[in-house]
């Protein structure tokens, strides 16, 4: 089998394509190190990590969904739902409240998953419904009000510096990476994303895998909602997670996971989220007006995805 063992030689372009995001992150770090005042301060780096953590968590769930050839537009609304649920149960203590928030996320994911896997709706529309309804529901639950959180245990989740949110996100990334590459569930998900009819005929539990995936995505979004709430020291269902779906999808795609499914890049997703975070930080810290900032972001997204694109042999 020696001839089989010979690894395929990969041209340089392939490396750029696979590792381009990391390069881009490095470039942005370097740029800031030289041109942004106080950038290399510990407190600033910590700020970036803390801010990016919820995006990373949501994006990890999104990466799973996208790997299964789906997409979940409802993540932002699910964050709002989780945020709205927390104060209701905080009287019982932190963990019951967090648990209920995660349950809310799981239920939302179950709805999405069932609509996609059982009813057979197209993911964009199926989750669009919950994008619209979810935040409404959250506001109904919260009576439209923002609620200040005073529970010290919950607030502790939002503090704790690098060992708090970023650690949770990092651990989750490792877990998701393991799940994707090393578990039957993960491999089946990727197979389903790659060719659903074939996976079906190969006897894979397509529906179950897809539902589990959307549930995971919902739970991750809910977790992000909990953490965002802790960080904000308030449950704010009207604002938390706004446009999160776009940030998460951008992170996933910039990280090299194709939207057509069949491939999941976990580390790339983390890097994608970091890239967008650093970019935003750069733009804000250099005081660019909103108009310029948006155009620069657009350009960077295009370039980053272009570099990481899947070339076809010809």
């Amino acid at each position: 089998m020696t001839e089989l063992a010979v690894a395929a030689k990969r041209p340089v372009a392939r490396y750029v394509q696979d590792y381009g995001v990391y390069g881009a992150v490095a470039v942005l770090l370097l740029f800031n190190a030289f041109f942004t005042d106080n950038f290399l301060q510990v407190s600033n780096l910590r700020t970036q990590l803390v801010q990016v953590a919820p995006v990373v968590i949501v994006a990890l769930g999104m990466a799973l969904v996208i790997g299964g050839e789906g997409v979940d537009l409802s993540v932002g609304s699910v964050m709002a739902l989780a945020a709205a649920v927390i104060p209701l149960y905080l009287g019982f203590g932190v963990w019951p409240a967090v648990l209920m928030a995660l349950v809310a996320g799981a239920v939302a994911g179950l709805v999405n998953g069932s609509l996609v896997a059982v009813v057979g709706l197209q993911p964009i529309v199926a989750t669009l419904a919950l994008l619209v309804a979810g935040r409404g529901l959250a506001l109904v639950i919260a009576d439209g009000q923002l609620k200040q959180i005073r529970n010290a245990d919950l607030l502790a989740l939002g503090e704790g510096g690098v060992l708090g949110l970023p650690l949770i996100a990092a651990v989750l990334a490792v877990v998701v990476g393991f799940v994707v590459h090393r578990t039957t569930y993960g491999r089946q998900l990727v197979a389903i994303g790659g060719n659903r009819p074939a996976a079906q005929l190969a006897g894979l539990p397509v529906k179950r895998v897809l539902i589990v995936t959307y549930v995971l995505c919902g739970v991750f979004a809910a977790l992000a909602g909990v953490l965002a709430t802790a960080r904000l020291t308030a449950s704010d269902p009207s604002a938390v997670g706004n446009l999160m779906e776009l940030s998460a999808i951008t992170a996933v795609v910039v990280g090299g996971t194709p939207l057509t499914g069949g491939r999941i890049r976990v580390l790339g997703t983390v890097a994608g989220a970091l890239l967008m975070q650093l970019l935003r930080a750069t733009l804000i810290q250099h005081g660019l007006p909103d108009s310029t900032a948006q155009m620069v972001q657009a350009a960077v997204i295009l370039v980053a995805v272009y570099v990481a694109r899947q070339r076809r042999t010809r």
């Binding site: 997409v71 537009l73 609509l115 009813v119 057979g120 709706l121 197209q122 964009i124 529309v125 199926a126 669009l128 419904a129 919950l130 994008l131 619209v132 309804a133 979810g134 935040r135 409404g136 529901l137 959250a138 506001l139 109904v140 439209g144 776009l246 999808i249 951008t250 795609v253 910039v254 194709p258 939207l259 057509t260 007006p289 909103d290 108009s291 310029t292 900032a293 948006q294 155009m295 620069v296 972001q297 657009a298 350009a299 997204i301 295009l302 995805v305 272009y306 694109r309 899947q310 070339r311 076809r312």
Partner: protein, 335 residues
């Protein structure tokens, strides 16, 4: 032996298969229409003020701009792509048109087409020649177009007004037989869109690319050119809709169009177009937009719902409509 085989090649009862399939196809193509008629009927029975001329013309003019945008989106989705930038482009078109209206009618129409066409062209070129996912490309131009709009309007602080006496205003405000010009324009564009899609080689190419891009390329279709044209068309239509809207509003409002892409996508999908591409119709999209309009109207008719409950209700409506539609089309998929 061969002769035996040839005469032995009796076919399955093709006509029987075809007829039932045609009925199913009808149900799919007109599933949105069926749901639309049904909900209109129910709404007229339940609410007194629903089936009035004023209300119906109201729904039609309110929907007309989304129709124009959604027609472009239909083309894009049939190629298997998506255009998230339409909302921003719609707003951009309106602002540019309002600015240009001080120079007369023609500039007011041409300037937005030029600017928005450029955005569409950019989308098309990038999608066609780099193979990047349309979702992410147009997500970027969604940001970019909005940024451009803010830059033009001094971070949104300036609102360009259409001069009171501009002929451009009539385009948005005039009526014919009780229906506003935008309604007629939207209907006309639907018809043109339908013909373009069904009866031209370009339209067939659009279907082919969505059905199987590889096959389309191997069959010798100019895939890249068709894609560029399609995104260009979507940009032009979104910009034109924005201009039309500016003519109606009398100003280039900067805050328009946020989330419009999702409405357009929802309408297209409700109309029976597959998001994976390869199938869909403009008439279905028209029904989809009207259905969204009716849902909105019904929510207002119910009255007194808080904004949060309104969102919940419209989300639920969306699910019901799409599920119904998908069951209607299921008949076809199972053959």
């Amino acid at each position: 032996m061969t002769a035996v085989l040839t005469t032995g090649g009796r076919q399955l009862p093709v006509s029987r298969v075809a007829r039932s399939e045609r009925i199913a196809a009808l149900a799919q193509r007109h599933g949105a229409l069926a749901v639309l008629l049904l909900s209109t009927l129910v709404a007229s029975l339940v609410f007194d003020s629903f089936a009035t001329f004023d209300n119906l013309t109201g729904i039609s003019i309110q929907s007309s701009f989304l129709v124009v945008v959604a027609v472009g989106m239909t083309f894009v989705i049939i190629t298997g792509g998506i255009d998230l930038s339409v909302g921003s482009v719609f707003a951009l078109g309106g602002v540019v048109a309002a600015w240009a209206s001080q120079y007369g009618l023609a500039p007011a129409l041409l300037a937005p087409l030029l600017v928005c066409g450029a955005v569409g062209l950019l989308n098309g070129l990038v999608v066609a020649y780099t193979g990047l996912a349309p979702f992410i490309v147009t997500l970027a131009t969604l940001l970019g177009a909005r940024g451009l709009l803010l830059a033009i309007t001094d971070e949104g602080a300036r609102t360009f007004l259409v001069p009171r006496d501009a002929a451009f205003l009539d385009l948005g405000r005039g009526t014919l037989l009780g229906f506003g010009y935008p309604v007629w324009i939207a209907v006309l564009l639907c018809v043109l869109g339908g013909v373009l899609l069904q009866r031209t080689r370009y339209g067939q190419g659009v279907y082919a690319i969505g059905g199987s891009e590889d096959a389309a390329a191997l069959m010798g279709l100019p895939v890249a050119r068709i894609k560029v044209l399609t995104y260009l068309l979507s940009g032009l239509l979104a910009g034109f809709a924005g201009a039309l809207n500016a003519a109606r509003l009398g100003s280039g409002v900067t805050i328009l169009g946020v989330g419009m892409e999702l409405d357009a996508i929802a309408a297209v999908v409700i109309g029976g177009t597959l998001l994976i591409g390869g199938a869909g119709t403009v008439s279905g999209t028209l029904c989809g937009v009207l259905l969204l309009g009716v849902i909105q109207n019904v929510i207002n008719q119910i009255g007194n719902l808080t904004s949060s409950v309104q969102s919940v209700v419209s989300g639920a409506f969306l699910v019901v409509v799409v599920v119904t539609q998908s069951y209607l089309s299921r008949v076809r998929r199972l053959r």
